[in-house]
């Protein structure tokens, strides 16, 4: 390949990477955690005082709750399992008609169970916003709310990311075979960061291509559907999915007490798909002519159309199968093709082992963007001449980029850990959760400190801070277990304990990284933005900033 072509692709790769790298770090770090959204929700959920009921009593619960609360008839859920984040067997949500589909803050949640006398006990419930908040950070590259414009920004970032992947592969092609698996450590730091970047980028390229392309589609799917409807279907496509208008005159109202018992519906779903494990029943429009119950669940052997699995749609009054279009393992080829993109983005196949693989590949992806920035900085290092007494001042752009990289990336890590810990402590102290406030406080403080102290020093401080905040996650649980009177709590489920143990492992990693970075700061080369600031004779306090500190 001609070298001038490679040079063009290299420039494209560099600039697309630099423009999107930090945003994508946030998307991948938060995305890796979002793989375990449910365990996070279980970890942070306070213990429920409501009692669970056997499934045999569910028909009574449904009939009485629907009679007492007509707003629940439109769409409610009956859970078939018990978990910390499900305080009662039945729940529903109400959302103002004018609210955006993605605006979770507008939603009001209610839960229902039966009391000791068999009467419905209904409560307003506020589930933790934190798992959703982390998911939003992932979806809109660190922006606070999931709105159309923010998703479009994510779409632009994902498109540039795709360009960066393709151009990166082209740049690497001439040496791909020779350097495959190469991770050379030594005095050539640029070579080391290049290898560290390339190993992840090349080996997990299919993963990244899927993430990039699906993210573009997720960002613009509303517009894509609208355009498709207008150009191909003459505007008839969207109307086909709208509910039929009810016929003139009074409508017959169906009695939910006549619905089949949930146990029977579950048995029908199991008989239809033996490998399918139902987890909840979602009832919709149960008093209307188009009543449907979606039996949601998972089949680890198959590809699921959504992160929470798939569903079989039944008539709740007769048990007749209405649709298996979204049932894992029983989808038609076109539906399976579409579902595969969702599944590949959201790890909705293969069960827990694949979730762990995605978690680690997500963290590796975050490292890919971080190392890309480090490589950019290292490529612009001004080296000290052999006969020079002092190291040369480093380039301003390299110092600023190093500080921004450290501040944004470590600020994101610190912010998420603080939001997790702070959410639990604030609840125990009687306050509100304040996930966004905690996250952005840590995030912007970290950025400010990185620019103030310089990348080298701030990296050490922020890594230790990330270590301390992440270690506080299991310590908070430990405090809850040892001192229940403190208002804190600890759950003993494997999912909840998994969060604590993963955080413990994460804290250990941050500690090791902090020690290594400290060693680099004190003992590494001085002609680098990562070296401790050198103070020249005559410098005023705070001016010793030739190398590391940009201020």
């Amino acid at each position: 390949m001609r070298t001038d072509f490679v040079r063009i692709y290299k420039a494209v790769h560099t600039w697309t990477g630099i423009l999107t790298g930090m945003a994508l770090f946030i998307a991948f770090y938060a995305g890796a955690l979002t793989v375990f959204k449910e365990p996070l929700a279980r970890w942070i959920a306070p213990p429920s005082a409501l009692q669970q009921i056997p499934l045999e009593q569910a028909p009574q619960l449904i009939a009485r709750t629907l009679a007492a609360h007509p707003d629940s008839r439109r769409d409610f859920t009956l859970h078939l399992r018990q978990a910390e984040h499900l305080p009662a067997p039945m729940d529903w949500q109400t959302r103002p008609a004018e609210a955006d589909d993605h605006d979770e803050t507008a939603v009001r949640h209610f839960v229902a169970t039966l009391d000791g006398n068999g009467e419905p006990l209904v409560q307003a419930h506020q589930p933790s916003a934190l798992p959703h908040f982390i998911d939003v950070l992932h979806r809109v590259v660190g922006l606070p709310v999931d709105t159309d414009p923010n998703r479009w920004i994510m779409g632009v970032a994902a498109a540039l990311y795709t360009l960066a992947l393709v151009s990166g592969v082209v740049v690497l092609l001439p040496s791909l075979v020779k350097d495959f698996f190469a991770l050379r450590l030594g005095r050539n730091l640029k070579r080391m960061w290049l290898d560290a970047h390339n190993v992840v980028g090349i080996v997990s390229l299919p993963f990244h291509l899927v993430m990039a392309l699906t993210a573009v589609v997720f960002a613009y799917h509303d517009g894509i559907y609208a355009l498709q409807d207008k150009l191909i279907h003459d505007g008839q496509w969207s109307t086909a999915f709208q509910r039929q208008r009810p016929a003139e005159g009074p409508q017959a109202t169906r009695d939910p007490a006549e619905m089949l018992p949930p146990l029977e519906l579950v048995a029908k779903a199991r008989a239809f798909a033996p490998g399918f494990t139902p987890s909840m029943l979602q009832y919709q429009q149960v008093t209307g002519p188009r009543a449907v119950v979606r039996v949601w669940g998972k089949d680890e052997a198959a590809v699921s159309p959504r992160a929470r699995g798939g569903f079989l749609a039944l008539d709740p009054y007769t048990g007749r199968v209405l649709s298996s279009d979204f049932l894992p393992g029983q989808q038609s080829t076109p539906n399976l093709f579409i579902s595969s993109f969702f599944a590949l983005h959201m790890a909705a196949f293969g069960g827990t082992p694949v979730q762990w693989m995605y978690f680690l590949l997500g963290l590796a992806g975050a490292w890919l963007f971080y190392s890309g920035n480090l490589l950019w900085v290292e490529s612009r290092r001004r080296k000290q001449a052999r006969d020079a007494a002092t190291p040369p001042p480093q380039r301003r752009d390299a110092r600023l980029m190093a500080a921004a990289t450290v501040g944004v990336c470590l600020g994101c890590i610190c912010g998420i850990s603080l939001a997790l810990v702070g959410g639990k402590w604030l609840y125990a102290l009687g306050g509100s959760e304040a996930s966004a406030l905690l996250y952005y406080s840590a995030f912007f403080a970290a950025i400010a400190w990185a620019f103030l102290a310089g990348a080298g020093r701030a990296a050490v401080h922020l890594l230790w801070l990330a270590c301390a905040l992440t270690l506080a996650i299991p310590l908070t649980s430990l405090t809850g277990a040892l001192l229940p009177g403190s208002g804190l709590w600890a759950h003993g489920s494997p999912a909840s304990l998994g969060v604590d143990l993963t955080a413990l492992a994460g804290a250990a990693c941050f500690a090791l990284m902090a020690r290594a970075t400290r060693r680099r700061l004190c003992q590494g080369r001085q002609d680098s933005v990562w070296a401790a600031p050198t103070r020249q004779p005559g410098d005023a306090p705070g001016q010793g900033a030739e190398n590391g500190s940009p201020v």
Binding site: F180, F181, V199, A302, F349, T352, P353, L361, A364, A516
Partner: protein
């Protein structure tokens, strides 16, 4: 985890490791393993691992799980080698 899934992932890990150790860029051993036997053996282990996964997973799921696992294994192996034999300042 299902026994077949566990076996499939374990065999694939062994196969991926054999292929990595046959690479001239591997950092686990002083010398790479003999190229042809190690690559053949690695490929055979990968095939057996894939076959074990097909015992419990549908073909499309098998391919997704297998490729995802290989990406992770081939990403981690060079880093484990580098951490085990550090050779320079970071």
């Amino acid at each position: 985890m299902n026994a077949y899934t566990f076996t499939g992932l374990l065999l694939s890990l062994a196969g991926g490791t054999a292929i990595y150790l046959a690479s001239p860029n591997q950092r686990w051993c002083r010398r790479p393993l003999p190229r042809t036997p190690a690559r053949l053996g690695g490929t055979l282990l990968l095939a057996l691992g894939c076959f074990s996964l097909t015992r419990v997973l549908q073909p499309l799921t098998t391919s997704f799980v297998f490729i995802t696992w290989l990406m992770l294994v081939f990403t981690l192996l060079p880093y484990i080698g580098a951490l085990g034999r550090p050779g320079g300042e970071s």
